[in-house]
Symmetry: D2
Subunit: 312 residues, 4 copies
């Protein structure tokens, strides 16, 4: 990693014991609870819910802003041909909070779009007001970590001059959860994205990410005040590909949990029929990002990437 | 009604056409939609959901404060022996926003409590910042109306010196929805509360309420700024009674819709076992309010009130 | 105090070093900063503002709810003749969030009201979601403490059946700040309220309060979820009295800071002129609470209470 | 304009009478008020404040998201050599809500940055939840309009791959206000930006903007839900230039009002000294955007642009 932190003392947010908090809708009311070892969720009011994974999930975060790192994995950097040099620094874009989605959510794909890409990531949740801090100090501002899927409608890649507002910002394009986790050493975990159960992305967070969350927070907070609840998406490894209605996409991170969503078709927007706004486009640049380059895929993922888009 | 408004022009919020907006959780994402005539919900993104009543509901409001009228129906006033005289004015209490619950919610009854009472009501949702207005001006501040259940744990009647914080403020004690409605003449509607399908409260809003929402808003806004989303609960007619786990309570208001919730048992709080705080009590005053006076009940409701607490 | 906590280990929120965070409006932007030892405020962006007390203050809290203890000092209990017995428990009321006011704020007194009373208090700010906790666990939910003034328009004492919505809930009736403080042993501090510089209330928090914040949080959180930012007002000692336009009221708590506000006249509400709502009343019960009983006042405060209402 | 609306009926938000609402901090409390014709602000509580322009201003908006149009004026399009063709469509970026600043605010320029550029704009404030609407329907979603300054630290132009997060997103870089205005025909207004009193940008909104707010809302809401309070910045005309500490920048729009801010120096961020993050850079591309091309400036602005950066 580009910026070492003092490993002689693990930051409190990564020291055990592991605590996972989830937010669920039970019979009309939103409730927080803590996961027990046996897969049951103990709501704060004392109710113990047996099959945690079958509950109705809300995002475990309530941010005022969501900031995402473009590239934070060496593998992704090579794939997109934007390899950071040793002097390079992270770059960012944003997603609106209306993009938030919960575990087992529907990820909407409009009828006139072709390329909805997955990007499995881990998210950092800010725990306290944070501005003008050093990387060492930044650790104290972190509340916990969540699995996340930074989905993108690549059909809009050719518009917005790089902000990716319409690529990354559409409603439902940020599934996050199922819980927010403290007490886990993030750098010992492995992230895997699956499509219909097949592994399509895989990375060891400690070995393969370029910048840690402390560095990224200190970087952003040089100029931008982070508030409790704010979310930072930490980038994805290589092999982002597009998925289709019916596909089940999941981001599973050891120690943090498994998040899934289902791609769901919706009609094209009404205004599009009137010719309003940039139409989804299918250009070489769109395809380059949406479909990737198969020649670089390691053998054990090749077959998965090929089969992943065919559910059943 | 105590304070006439110029009926020669119906306020805009009560003029047609009727529009009902609901907020549902669909596959992890909260979404607004508009009810269609045939019982389907058309989400704003274009999806049409066939069986609206079977959806997962969120409260259709996001208030910064919830203020409730103690007594606004002549029948309730007589029953509680607090009959307002002609010079009388409304009085209020509050519920915290954590009490909000959605349609088909679970209404929690702790194991050490005996008397959880229903109170069917209509709620007024504030649509714009409002302070120091007259009753005539207040109509423009109203966004719409919702059915609501102002549930109360009467076991805490003997504490809090009248604020009813613990009676009315516990989590889940304010089911509201399923939608927020504009374009309906509130004063031509009839409110009915049912327990397990049997009518237990019934009142014609125009004929039996003492103060209209315009009067109540003008009264409160004399000293307190109302903000968009704030909720005012307009009081309940007579025959509030207590219900038990398993009971299905509903508030149905013609023109506005039908809201239901199910009473659900939870354990007593952990701190109660340590002797912390006022214990639930079963005193004559608690019983007077919780159980009511059967001699005043009209014939056609008597049998319902007797049978309502026995589900099945 | 009624409920001991394990003094062999002071809770983290009361262990040093002292940290005071303030929120100020500097040239149009709200900013957080940390107090330095020399009375300067260091904004998070690096600016150091010389005369902290002369800044423009915002409340250092952003609660979803504000809950207040009716009586938590033995002296106040005796004065109001509501002396809790050993078995007694705290009772509560609420203030809407629109009542919040900052340091050096204007405390509004409508022209048709006579009795605006001060109550110097300390406030507890909740730092994390909290439900169904024990008193021992409750300490971890506390973010910090603030001076506060729980102002009340006693002219509305005869209405609202004990909820005090109009007594305590009007806009501006909750000055709080200037900062939120951690790292101070609350139970070693002394609270003083002054009017125009003269001490009118005085109490040692450790010696004279009946319940600690951990007890109160555990009590409330038996049934009500507390959220980050929520505020609990911990009651006032004896000798609340009414003040007039021009009076400067302050609550100074050793270790926590000094909060002040100025009583400011405004016109009576427009709706009052139309006869809407309960009119301010001047009854024996109103006077009993608003003016107190001078015979019980200790010698050293008597002259102050007499002179305090005459500024200049 | 690119997309006509039915001028035979002016949308309600542009029909008179003109109403301007401002939000000020008066003695510690935030308050809304309405401007009177004579330059006085009538607070909702009845107080009338004589010299409205001398008050302490808060932003008159509370958005969940802020979306900005890159280019919406023909003059700006030519200047930046990104002239939209007839088939072209608007593109967008975002600013975090922490960038909000009030009238008479301090616009912060870190010591290590050189190019802080002004962009006078009008902002559209969303009044209701809005998704999947046509341009005609979009008018009903608009609450009002505000003057705004979309300030940018062009030193970060070379990073963030086009999202401009650090260019446009730093704290204080979005002065907005002083009020939010309804009842003014936006398309008959003229926007002027001044630096130290000298006009540096000037455009007739109706004649020179390419897309109206109805078109932009319909475009964004194809995929992104807009919520009440959300802000859309509608782009700037040509002649954005950089300003220095001490400069007073103002955006004055006939009918809407005059907003000003003062450029204020702050230290470089602490993390920058540790080598964290992209350093401010002074490249040809940065200079091209920050300094513009003087040869294209009309005669009557040339002298102003030359003199504007020298206060006094």
């Amino acid at each position: 990693m580009n910026f070492e932190f003092p490993f002689n003392e693990l930051p409190a947010v990564m020291r055990g014991p592991r605590v996972e908090r989830r937010r669920v809708l039970v019979g009309g009311s939103a409730y927080w609870g803590t996961m027990e070892g046996d897969g049951r969720l103990r709501l704060d009011d004392g109710r113990v819910l047996a099959d945690a994974d079958a509950l109705t999930y809300l995002p475990p975060v309530n941010p005022t802003k969501i900031i995402a790192v473009h590239i934070s994995y060496a593998s992704r950097s090579m794939e997109t041909r934007n390899k950071p040099k040793p002097t390079d620094t992270p770059t960012y874009f944003t997603k609106p909070t209306t993009a938030l989605n919960g575990h087992r959510g529907q990820i909407l794909k409009p009828a006139d779009c072709t390329y909805l890409n997955y990007e499995g990531e881990y998210a950092v949740v800010v725990g306290r007001t944070c501005r003008n801090v050093t990387p060492d100090e930044a650790w104290d501002c972190i509340e916990g970590f969540c699995p996340a899927l930074d989905m993108g409608l690549q059909d809009f890649r050719d518009t917005d001059q790089g902000s990716m507002l319409r690529v990354k910002g559409a409603d439902t394009l940020l599934p996050i959860g199922p819980g927010i986790v403290r007490g886990v050493n993030l750098f010992e975990q492995t992230l895997r994205t699956t499509v219909n159960g097949l592994v399509v992305q895989e990375a060891h967070i400690g070995d393969e990410t370029i910048w840690g969350p402390h560095y990224v927070i200190a970087d952003i907070a040089r100029h931008i005040m982070l508030l409790p609840g704010d979310v930072i998406l930490m980038g994805t490894p290589c092999h982002s590909r597009s998925v289709d209605p019916g596909d089940v996409v999941a981001c599973e991170i050891t120690g943090l949990g498994r998040l899934e969503g289902t791609v769901t078709a919706i009609d094209a927007p009404r205004a599009s029929a009137l010719g309003v706004g940039h139409a989804p486009t299918d250009t070489p640049e769109v395809r380059r990002v949406a479909l990737g380059f198969d020649e670089r895929v390691p053998e054990h993922l090749k077959e998965n990437l090929r089969r992943a888009r065919r559910p059943g």
